[in-house]
Every structure is written in C-alpha cells, then in structure tokens.
C-alpha cells in the first residue's frame, strides 16, 4: 500500500523538474526519479508479491512472513528515501546511509526468500527464475554500492570518468533484466495462463529465456571486468527478453476468452514497451526513451495490472477462509470482481496510458519548445493514475476489513 506513494513522489519531481529530467539521464532529478520508481514502487511491490506468491505458486510460505515482511518494508522504505534524497541533493552522508540500509534490507529479504525457495516444490521454471532473480538483486545491489563508493571517491574504486557510465549501464542491466525481467518471466509462466486462460508457455522458452538473460549479464560483467566490449552479453540478455515478450503476446492472443480487461491491457503495454526498449538498447538508441519505456512502460504497468488481479483475489480468498473457519454462512461474501470494479480499472489504465505517451513524446523529442510541458503534463497524468490506483487499493482493503469484521 505504500508503494504508490513513491511513484507519486516521482511524479511530483517530474512536474517540478520537467526541464531537467529528460534532457539528460545524469541530472540529480532523473536519478532520484528512477530510483523512486525502481526501488520504492517496483521493488517494493515485487518483494511483497514474492511473499504472497511463494505459498500460492510453490506451496512454500516464507517463515515468519509478517515479521520479515514488515522489517523488509521498513528498511526498503528508509533506504530508498535516503538514497533518493542523497542523489537529489548530492548529499554524501545520505548516499552512504541509503546504500547500507538497502544492503541490510536485501540481505534479510534474500535470506528469508532463499530459505522458502529451497523448500519450494512444483512450478520448476518459476522457482528457478525466482532464484536467479534473487541473484540479480544481489548483483544490482553490489554494483550500486560500488558506484556509491566511486562517487564518494574511495581509493580502491577509482575508475576513469568514461568507465563510470559503463558501470552504471551494468548496474541498470542487472536491475532491469536480472532482477525485474527474470522475476517477471518466472511469475508470468504461472499467472499469464492462469489469469487469462491461455495455453501454457512452451517448454523450450521456459528452459532457455531466463538462462539466456542471466548468461548474457554474466558475459557482459566478465567483459566489463576485463575491459572488453559488453555488447555480446547485453545482446544475448536482450534477445531473451524480446523472445519472452513475443511469446507472451502470442499466448495472450490465443486466450480462451476474448474479453479484454485492464490487466490484459497493462500486459500488452508492458510487453510492447519491453520489446521497443530492448530494440532501442540493442541499436544504441538514446537512454531517455529507453528509460521511459522501461520504468514507466514496464515498471509502472506490470505491477499496476497485477494488483488489479492479485488484491481482489487475496481479499476474496482470505474472506472465504474466514467464513469456512467460522462457519459464518449467513454473511454473503462479495464476488472477487466487486473488490476493484472493472470500469474503474479501465479508467485508471486510460490515465496511465496518457502519462506514458506524454513522457515518451518528451523523451523522443527533447528539443521541442514545449517538451518541458509534455514532461510536466506527463507527471500530472502519472500522479493522477497512481493516485487513482492507490484509492482503488484503499477501497479494496476497506471492503475486505468491513467483511472481515462481519465474519469475526
């Protein structure tokens, strides 16, 4: 429930710093916005999703989930705020504090999720992807800490100015492809066929896509360490993402029911954005449009679309559980779709789509006289979309609590 607040903060920076933000990826406002979205919104939802999905998909609940979940969330919230304000104000103390807090958070999270993954059964390729994603998160963190040390001028981490951008690219690649991409793939193998009743993913894809991404990233990292070009590695990883996105669109095209809902629209947007971002990246396109496609086109889209399915399902399921446990059959539990009405979800998606298009136009043509206003309007639309998403979440949660009280 706290994740949308970070996206709202990112939207606020877009509105206030529109002139800085898409002109260069290196502006403090851009760096802060990206980390607010990547850590505060995306990683927070992904961590929460892992806590919820492991018992449902792999029959392996996380031990002391409530305690570990709370601790992880507090550490992630604080770490993200320290880091983002450190980047925004160029404050060294906050950068160090942010890096260390996030390190403790990732270690705790990795320990708890790693233990649950060891006990997991079934859903072989999903569990494998989750393990790789955890490794991706560790490497992203390690590279992030390395970059902070470099920014602070640590003696042991002296790299040439030109190398700095390449290390940032590697950090970005591990975060976007190794952590987010790999986890999305693993979860998609289960939820795409489940939510939209599509044919299952082909075995060849489940066997090869995640290993291709991880192998590509390892090759790129090794090449970077040896001072060689990273394109072969990145190319392999991006091919894995591209093929996965194409197969996902194909599966969804062959779904049993022709109905189109907000979750499906979000998936289509995310997969199209992922493919465009991968192609632009492979062809050496400018970083700013790639960033908008990756962080807004995928990073905001997929969690939003998934929340529309997962929150109502969990609310409905826990009420069912309480009803059966207490034998309170006099209370009529609402249908799952009543928790977040489809019409509201579609309006929220429309707002989001406006924000994506505006930000993308501004990123593609930053030289336009009104591009600053495109960013600001895009920021406002993002704030509207995220604010509405948050309200729908709160409404779902209030409805759950109200019925939960009646079942007590």
């Amino acid at each position: 429930m706290a994740a949308p607040l970070f996206a709202l903060l990112a939207a606020l920076i877009l509105v206030l710093e529109g002139d800085q933000i898409l002109a260069t990826r290196w502006s403090p406002a851009t760096l802060a916005t990206i980390h607010l979205l990547a850590l505060g919104f995306l990683t927070q939802i992904m961590c929460g999703a892992l806590f919820q999905m492991l018992p449902v998909l792999a029959g392996s609940p996380v031990a002391r989930a409530l305690l570990v979940g709370r601790a992880t969330q507090i550490l992630l919230t604080l770490g993200t705020l320290f880091l983002c304000f450190g980047l925004y104000w160029g404050h060294q103390g906050l950068l160090v504090l942010g890096g260390l807090t996030l390190a403790v958070c990732v270690l705790l999270f990795g320990w708890a999720i790693g233990a649950a993954l060891r006990r997991a059964r079934g859903a072989q390729y999903t569990v494998m992807a989750m393990r790789f994603a955890l490794i991706g998160l560790f490497v992203t963190l390690a590279l992030g800490l390395f970059l902070i040390a470099g920014l602070l001028g640590a003696e042991s981490v002296r790299f040439a100015r030109s190398d700095f951008a390449r290390w940032v690219d590697l950090h970005l690649a591990w975060g976007l492809l190794g952590w987010v991409g790999v986890l999305v793939m693993g979860v998609a193998y289960q939820v795409v066929p489940m939510f939209h009743v599509t044919p299952g993913y082909p075995r060849w894809l489940m066997r090869s896509a995640v290993p291709a991404v991880v192998a590509g990233l390892l090759i790129a990292t090794l090449a970077m360490g040896l001072g060689m070009g990273v394109w072969a590695g990145f190319g392999l990883a991006l091919t894995g993402v591209l093929v996965f996105a194409l197969v996902t669109l194909d599966r969804q095209h062959r779904r049993e029911r022709p109905r189109v809902d907000a979750t499906l629209l979000y998936w289509w947007t995310a997969m199209t954005s992922a493919m465009l971002a991968a192609l632009l990246w492979a062809w050496g396109g400018r970083a700013e449009p790639i960033g908008v496609l990756a962080f807004v086109g995928v990073g905001i889209a997929l969690p939003s679309g998934m929340l529309f399915k997962i929150m109502p399902f969990l609310s409905w399921f826990h009420l069912q559980y309480r009803q059966l446990s207490g034998r309170r059959f006099d209370v009529r539990i609402p249908h799952m779709h009543a928790f977040i009405p489809e019409r509201s979800a579609l309006i929220q998606f429309g707002l989001y789509l406006v924000s994506l298009v505006l930000l993308l136009l501004a990123a593609i043509w930053p030289e336009l006289a009104f591009s600053v206003w495109l960013v600001r309007l895009g920021g406002l639309a993002t704030a509207g979309a995220i604010g509405f998403l948050w309200w729908l979440q709160l409404r779902c949660s209030a409805q759950y609590r109200s019925f939960s009280r009646r079942l007590a």
């Binding site: 018992p55 449902v56 998909l57 792999a58 029959g59 079934g122 859903a123 289960q190 066929p193 489940m194 939510f195 939209h196 009743v197 299952g200 049993e256 029911r257 399915k309 399902f313 409905w316 399921f317 069912q320 559980y321 059966l324 446990s325 799952m336």
Partner: protein, 90 residues
C-alpha cells in the same frame, strides 16, 4: 469384491481464478454424503488445500502442470482402493 467406482469429476482446467476454487467448494457442498470428488486442474491449487484442511477433507494430488488430478474425500470416509486407483480419462 470392491464396489464399482462411480466417479464424480469436475473439470476446472479452463477457468480463470477464482472460479476453480468456487466450483470445487460448490461441488463439495453438493456431493452425496461420503463420496469423493475428482478435480481436473491445470496447476496444483495450493490455496485450496488450506480450505480443505479447515473443512475436514483429505486429498491426494497426481500429475504436474498443465494436467493435475486432485482426489478429495471427507476424512470420515477414506476412498477405497478402486477409487484411489481410478484416473480421469485424458
């Protein structure tokens, strides 16, 4: 000689959540007393197991994604050998 198996089969493999869970709970409520239920699913329904445990049912799961068979029975009436051996036709 054991009784001939008269299987009650519920196919939820082409339904979206939460319909599989709803249909299984409805089918269990309508089931003749003491009879088992065979469910054909596309994945192992871990959330269902929690509910079955609460409701006093036992279960046994066979197969893997995308074809999973779950045999569910009231704990007071364990399935016969013939019922345990019966499989849902492909």
């Amino acid at each position: 000689m054991s009784e001939p198996v008269v299987p009650q089969v519920l196919d939820v493999s082409r339904l979206a959540p939460p319909e599989p869970l709803e249909r299984v709970l409805d089918a269990l409520a309508d089931l003749p007393a003491g009879r088992p239920l065979w469910v054909l699913h596309r994945r192992e329904p871990f959330p269902l197991y929690d509910l079955l445990r609460r409701m006093g049912y036992g279960w046994r799961t066979l197969g893997e994604d995308p074809r999973v068979e779950i045999l569910i029975w009231p704990l007071a009436n364990p399935p016969s050998e013939a019922e345990l051996a019966w499989r849902i036709p492909s």
